[in-house]
Symmetry: C2
Subunit: 602 residues, 2 copies
């Protein structure tokens, strides 16, 4: 199937419309302001010299590139001269400071370091993000200055890496350029960009010279331990890995490379069956920001980077398009409503880089009496990070979130994600009205649609509708749908358990309501560790304006305080209490607080 | 109360007799052999030069000193010319290589480094252990050569530190000498040694110059953050802290220093109410080998050093003698049967330094894909460590374990620990016959005893006896006991829970049978994380010769494997199984295995 692009779908109302509007009205400016303050915008002047403030970091190009990509999507649906002028200003600087041979990189231009010598300096990663932004900006505005700059840069990279073997390394230390080159190829029809993507993919895992030049990394960290076609487990830095896998999926699709596609299937299967948090977060450890071993999913120290959730959505969506397997759309939904969404505050201004599934404020006091400090995730979102990849990644995914909603294949339409929206795809129109994820009712108006496939979410046990349908690959397949009909996915709070192998969740349960994972915050519930939820779940659901969705009150018990450190279990006492649960993605919006996703039952 | 010393109590049979015999027959030689191989014994020649093998480490004196102390205890009960000659040989070398002014330290003698300049080089810690060994050797053999050497050394330390302020630091970086000096004072009646102990205690926390010279340490690490009299929470390196607290208790007792005694009470209360594992292990983290914050008791990464359990036994025994509060005897028992005993293998040859309460072999695979390695405890005991403080500490505690059994106060006798043994204290005789901890039956023959106090262990709910008694401070107080009578502490497996504040054990239970904490090993039970014990405990108890005590078979359930990573709790399936539990201290004696102390219930 092929997704219906963001520019052919209009969000009308509801949960995602609100989130997108917040992105357009607040987040995009907030990220710009912080990027401006920190020198990231000014850096495009390429006039930094030793002794000046705001020394450009080697990943700054990519931060701003993602912001530009977001603006491209935003101004397509709603012209905005302020944002467009800002982007044009940056593009002018890129054109001005691009080297004669096409090279562009702020850090290597101003630092005096020799280009293409340090694999770990994100040079090709920055190039990739710039290319993606250039394609988006060309496609939404028709302006080709940026695109031409990036074509010239891509040509240089082709020459240096593929023709001349003229760099100290062969493949990027941080992947991204692979999928970017394929976007550039699809936009320009220049076959060499596809070839270059294939070159980078083929060389990975085959170049001793690559990992030797990054002494602090292992072959696993950079996905360089084996040929991509032989990969069967997700390894190393999670964002790098997932960007690579996206590139592999794109390349496999464009070239019908079955071996590479098979590797993609094994990789996503490894992730979703063994290495993914219930939130759709991935990357279990801050050490190398990496995937670790199967079922190693600690909650408090979960790295689960916002960018990794976004990258998982991107990879899963690609696999959905290729294999049309509904399970991949479930993964997109899981990450979208939980791991990704946790990355941004309710006011749209602040961001998490790491998204742990447990916060215990006491842990932060632990470091005091020890000689070495542990790494601990921050407990409150901030406006900008030194390494600020996640905020503009949220900007660009929010600005185009509707691209995940619909797809077509052989004339049949697919509804993959439920957003109150309209397909504005010429004569064939689908209008979905829904309060999803507040409830499971989906009202559909279909015009000129012969065949409609509607995903039944994996969390749903029961579908109510008068419409006739057959099940097909996990979709409700409706031939000649009525002009207007309603489907209801029965939505109720469900206790979820983790696979026996997940030690961190051993004996515990989580609560999911529709696609959203819930959490228990200390600010609502006092000591979260003394709480046990009733295993015969008794709940009350209430819509909460602040969260744009429901909060849940559940029957529970509190283990009484006992002054002894250890005592007979039979001496335990419990009082009945009401436990308030809020969506996981909404935690940490009311100051620092303990938080758990996995709780004990009684 | 005053403990009846090791040389007035003879172990006759049973659990501790076997352990002590293993120490005398196997461990003492095994430790010697490894110390010999690694150059620790030869180092006393003080002839090491640059370029030679086996460069002496600055803590080697202390390793061998503890071994000598153990030999002193062993040869008191059973003459052994082989061991005695070895010790005499070392003592000759100490005398020969002692500096003219009394200084003795292998490392500072051979390295050329200036003495008394590096607070963190364990110089006074080594001196302390040598003094303790010298006192023990003098008391059991009557030979005074070693004692005289150490008196001379103590005199020098008095002069340099107390009279001249002639060292770069004021107080030891690693405590030990405080209690050693008090032992030396009590043995020699030389008041200056008590004064010097008081000097080191008084200066602690009051010397900016001390912690400035140990840049890698914090004030907490070395218990240097506040005056000892103001201490109310156990902080920093656990063994250092506990050795300090032992010195404080000794000093408070000798000098009737109520403020210092009050600090000791607060410290032990902080430990046993907030910072102690169920095994009596202490020191929650390898980072600084330290106490951390209250209730921070992670199982898999527990440091819980063997020496720290021994030191806790020493501190608790001192507090028991001072305050006569039965709860301190319970702590001694808890550490003795669990945290301390886990430090040595069943064959008596191999040792643990760290004693975590959970082993998951998968965790060791995690490091592979990350760029930084976590510290992980070893999973199998070894014969010697580079820092090999624990093995000879086990030697000396095992060789004198009977000193914890009995005490006297105002003519009344106390039984604090239950060992099959005889008090050989002149005319007054107590003979205890027991299989403890295999069962709770204690048969007592009392001769010339007017008043007997028998501790009721905290784990015991019900005492069976025909003897008349009153309860007094947690003891059964028996006036004019019968010549022979039996007491039975009803012993049955009990599920134990941890304080609500202990997050690591939240929702879990442990199993205790008498004083022993049990564990579930993978080698007996397969995947330990899929196991749930029946919460209406159904067990079978069987004596196991290998362990010298009982193994327990309990009714349990195994959560079925499900291929999904997350699924509805209601889809969970369980099969009933038998779970085998063995004493925690016996784990890791049959090869590498997963192990848990805290398990889930169903």
């Amino acid at each position: 199937m092929k997704s219906i692009e963001y520019d052919c779908v209009r969000l009308e109302d509801g949960f995602w419309k609100n989130k997108q509007k917040l992105n357009e009205d607040v987040s995009i400016y907030s990220v710009w302001n912080r990027f401006y303050d920190t020198g990231r915008i000014g850096a495009f002047k390429c006039d930094w010299k030793q002794g000046m403030d705001n020394q450009p970091h080697y990943y700054w190009d990519s931060d701003v590139a993602k912001w530009i990509e977001a603006v491209a999507y935003i101004i397509k649906s709603e012209p905005n001269s302020v944002l467009e002028e800002r982007v044009d200003g940056i593009i002018d600087l890129i054109e001005k400071n691009q080297w004669d041979d096409g090279y562009f990189n702020i850090y290597f231009t101003v630092s005096g370091e020799e280009r293409f010598t340090n694999r770990n300096s994100h040079e090709l990663y920055c190039a990739g993000h710039l290319m993606e932004a250039a394609v988006a900006y060309y496609q939404t505005t028709g302006k080709d200055k940026f695109l031409n700059c990036m074509k010239k840069y891509a040509d240089l990279i082709y020459k240096v890496f593929k023709e001349e073997d003229g760099a100290v390394f062969t493949t990027p230390g941080h992947e991204c350029i692979e999928m970017a080159l394929i976007k550039l190829y699809k936009c320009t029809n220049e076959k060499r960009y596809l070839e270059l993507a294939g070159f980078f993919l083929d060389k990975r895992g085959a170049n001793k010279k690559d990992y030797c030049c990054v002494p602090q990394s292992t072959e696993y960290y950079c996905q360089d331990y084996v040929s991509v076609r032989d990969m069967d487990s997700a390894e190393g830095h999670a964002v790098r890995a997932l960007y690579l896998y996206c590139g592999m999926a794109d390349y496999a699709k464009e070239t019908n490379d079955d071996n590479m596609l098979e590797a993609c299937r094994k990789l996503i299967s490894d992730i979703i069956n063994q290495k993914m948090y219930i939130t759709g977060g991935v990357g279990s450890t801050f050490m190398g920001e990496a995937f670790t071993i199967p079922y190693d999913l600690p909650n408090e120290s979960a790295y689960s980077e916002t960018c990794a959730s976004i990258a998982l959505m991107m990879f899963a969506q690609r696999m959905l398009e290729i294999d049309n397997d509904v399970k991949y759309a479930d993964i997109v939904e899981r990450s979208m409503f939980n791991g990704m969404l946790d990355g941004i505050s309710l006011d749209g201004k602040k961001f998490f880089y790491e998204n742990p599934l447990e916060v215990n404020l006491e842990t932060y006091k632990r470091n005091r009496s020890t000689t070495t400090e542990e790494h601990l995730p921050i407990t409150q979102r901030v406006e900008v990070f030194e390494c600020s990849c996640c905020p503009p990644n949220i900007n660009r995914i929010m600005a185009s979130i509707q691209r995940f909603a619909y797809a077509v294949k052989d004339g049949a339409y697919y509804i993959n994600q439920f957003m109150d929206s309209t397909i504005t795809d010429g004569e064939n129109i689908i209008r979905v009205k829904t309060k999803y994820p507040c409830d499971g009712k989906i009202n559909i108006t279909a015009k000129n649609i012969d065949e409609l496939n509607i995903r039944i979410p994996s969390w749903c046990d029961k579908v109510l509708t008068n419409e006739q349908y057959e099940m097909k690959n996990g979709y409700m397949n409706i031939k000649n749908p009525s002009a207007n009909f309603t489907i209801e996915f029965e939505m109720k709070p469900v206790l979820v358990t983790a696979n026996t192998n997940v030690r961190a969740d051993c004996g515990k349960a989580a609560l999911q309501y529709g696609p959203m994972v819930y959490c228990i915050e200390g600010i609502d519930n006092g000591d979260v560790y003394s709480i046990r939820l009733a295993d015969n779940l008794e709940t009350q659901i209430d819509y909460d304006e602040t969260y744009g969705t429901n909060v849940i009150t559940a029957k529970g018990y509190r283990k009484s305080k006992n002054k002894d450190l250890y005592y007979k279990l039979s001496d335990d006492e419990y009082e009945q209490i009401s436990v308030k649960l809020i969506p996981y993605s909404c935690h940490a919006n009311r100051g620092e607080s303990d938080m758990i996703v996995w709780f004990n039952l009684k």
